[in-house]
Amino acid sequence: MAAKKTTKKANVSKEELLSYYRDMLLIRRFEEKAGQLYGMGLIGGFCHLYIGQEAVVVGLEAATKDGDKRITSYRDHGHMLACGMDPKGVMAELTGREGGYSKGKGGSMHMFSKEKHFYGGHGIVAAQVPLGAGLAFSDKYRGNDNVTFTYFGDGAANQGQVYETFNMAALWDLPVIFVIENNQYAMGTAMARSTSSPDIYTRGAAFGIKGEAVDGMDVLAVKEASEKAVAHCRAGKGPYILEVKTYRYRGHSMSDPAKYRTREEVQKMRDERDCIEQVRDILLTGKHATDEDLKAIDKEIKGIVNEAAEFSKESPEPSLDELYTDIYMEAEA
């Protein structure tokens, strides 16, 4: 299962490579475990896995600083883990338990962390796009140099509110990076059948927003593009579009048999382009790490994920009183 060789970036340290490897692996193992718990009936409803797309969030997060915000759609587990949210709290939300980030009241699609500046977790396709621009608005209003990462998919890129937002973000120079995670399928509809122009990153041109396409299976390429976009936004030059070309290995949600693409297509991506295998390859061929080193990381990650799964099973269901809490905030006296 040799991954395609990535051009070695001279300025990437061993520590960085290991941290990307670790972060991507955590997402993958977490999602595999989530899939397993779904199969056991411990997770209900909709559950959208991020497997295959790990390099996108890990690469983008590599260029963030404290205070930066992020917001995404319902395929959100990876984003939460990548910004440092606790896997136990995320998994317990998936199982609908008290220890979950939303006390079990949000579920897979609706989690938030003020502490980590993660603003959800939104279930209406593209709704997070103006919301993300609004978060960026709040930072610009306050006069700081924070940036908001607003993630959405190739499917969402066809929604009208995206272009309303592009217009206002450009008009008001909002510090927002629109990250279009192009995994090539809007649920089950391939790009070619839903999207008139294949180059989504050019969609901002009409509003004067710079955009570029990035190989989303290459975490180093994503990180480099993220740094460039962040520098643009922090300098007060307004929004930036990154179309990150990626691939989801699993179906749209757990109940998607994915008959709209061939098994071979998926297998080819896994064999030739897998983001984790690519970093693993660089680590081993560059002699940054031994097989043993990586096995140790694998074991550590497995431990974290198993611990999260155990917590998510042991954490009690929310108290019945929770039905009627958190609907309104108390006004300050």
Binding site: G39, K103, K105, G120, A127, M168, R270, M329, E330
Partner: protein, 457 residues
């Protein structure tokens, strides 16, 4: 350690399925991501992937087996050198057991359908001798925004034509001059987008006032008002508040046709997480808007174009506020309670005047806030008058009046001497022709007739 591979649930509703095909056989080595079997659910045939690595020690359910319950062991995964017999007794079905134990049928409260109680602060006392200044609703709304914008820099106003044009209905007149373009922001005509940006700014901790040129246009933005603003606090387990006000004229103006005349009072009042305000007088418009801007929750503030130009006495005070959630008795009476809000109050008060000439004493109650609704005040009044008529301009089906009728039936049935009558707009899109439009709204005569009907006169 040998582990059981369990029949997976592959859709939100799957309870059992057909193990259509095994793609591995006993003795095969599998690793995470390998497809092991095809399983037919109620919806589709799904591929079932391995999560752990190991060797297929034993296949327990043969391919082609139908009706395999979720969580049944279908195979045993072993490690090198292990035997399938090492597996411990089945642990499947644990999740089901838990479900059985959960006391899901326990009653939540005496009235599970009741909206969540919100603590309402007491009405502000207006000191004796306070100067009362005739003020239009338009000026009162502007004054409320200006006072709150002076109070804190976190408050800002955005919407179509709010800045340089000075407001499509001149509500924001003068605000751009005083507060500048950073805080009084003209938006493009993109309600969906700027409502979402407003909600995002509120998540970011600011206090936006989003003006809709009319609430008819807010239908383009209703997803953000309901799905993004109203529900996020709950979905986040109480973390993510949304201190925002959506305001603008609502309901019929005059001769503007079906697409510009819709009254949304009942729509928004249905939504847990929103507060909904619909003032009548200028003093209430000012005091309620100031409270709405300070409220940490999303507030839908429904104004009325016809009322904008009407003058009412407003107390001259440094900081006059009216609490959300508290109704007000405009006129005391003993024979019937007329409940209304917003411009409906015009018909209610006119009817009360005329009824007095006929010797009928009507108590007129202005709800002011529709959510949370001060149902206690309605019930108290009805306990005294034993009769109730509701008045609103909105559509009759699932109206505010319908809800009040239901509350009175459940909570004050023994006090009612007649059925509650709801005076509403007619069940038609708003016509343009002047005579038809007048007929499509409720009328003072209809209110008088309804009162006579419930008082058997």
């Amino acid at each position: 350690m040998a582990t059981e591979i369990l029949m997976p649930a592959l859709s939100p509703t799957m309870e059992e399925g057909t193990l259509a095909k095994w793609l591995v056989k006993e003795g095969d080595t599998v690793s995470s991501g390998d497809i092991m079997a095809e399983i037919e659910t109620d919806k589709a045939t799904m591929e079932f992937e391995a999560v752990d690595e190991g060797i297929i020690g034993k296949i327990l359910i043969a391919e082609g087996t139908e009706g395999v319950k979720v969580n049944t062991a279908i195979a045993i995964l072993v490690e090198e050198g292990e035997s399938a017999d090492d597996v411990k007794a089945s642990s499947g079905g644990a999740a089901d057991d838990d479900e059985d134990k959960a006391p899901i049928n326990e009653p939540m409260s005496a009235n599970p359908g009741a909206p969540v109680a919100v603590v309402v602060p007491a009405e502000m006392d207006i000191p004796e001798g306070t100067e009362m200044k005739p003020t239009t609703v338009r000026e009162a709304l502007r004054d409320a925004m200006a006072e709150e914008m002076r109070r804190t820099p976190e408050v800002f106003l955005m919407g179509e034509e709010v800045a340089e044009y000075q407001g499509a209905y001149k509500i924001s007149q003068g605000l751009l001059d005083e507060f500048g373009a950073k805080r009084v922001i003209d938006t493009p005509i993109t309600e969906h987008g700027f409502a979402g940006i407003g909600v995002g700014a509120a998540f970011g901790g600011l206090n936006p006032i989003v003006e809709f040129m009319t609430f008819n246009f807010a239908m383009q933005a209703i997803d953000h008002i309901i799905n993004s603003a109203a529900k996020t606090l709950y979905m986040s387990g109480g973390q993510m508040g949304c201190p925002i006000v959506f305001r603008g004229p609502n309901g019929a103006a005059a001769r503007v046709g079906a697409q510009h005349s819709h009254d949304y009072a009942a729509w928004y009042s249905q939504i847990p997480g929103l507060k909904v305000v619909m003032p009548y007088s200028a003093a209430d418009a000012k005091g309620l808007l100031k409270s709405a801007i300070r409220d940490p929750n999303p507030v839908v503030f429904l104004e009325n174009e016809i009322l904008y130009g009407q003058s009412f006495d407003v107390p001259v005070m440094d900081d006059y506020t009216v609490p959300l959630g508290k109704a007000k008795i405009w006129r005391e009476g003993t024979d019937v309670t007329i409940v209304s809000f917003g411009i409906g109050m015009k018909y209610a008060l006119e009817a009360a005047d005329k009824l007095a000439e006929d010797g009928i004493s009507a108590e007129v109650l202005d709800l002011r806030t529709l959510r949370p609704m001060d149902t206690g005040a309605i019930i108290e009044s009805v306990k005294k008058t034993n009769r109730c008529v509701t008045v609103e301009e909105g559509f009759p089906v699932c109206s505010i009046g319908n809800y009040i009728s239901s509350v009175l039936m459940q909570e004050a049935f023994d006090y009612l001497d007649a059925p509650v009558i709801n005076c509403t707009g007619k069940d038609v899109p708003m016509p343009y022709a002047a005579n038809l439009e007048k007929l499509a709204l409720t009328t003072t005569k209809e209110v008088i007739d309804a009162v006579k009907a419930v008082t058997y006169r």
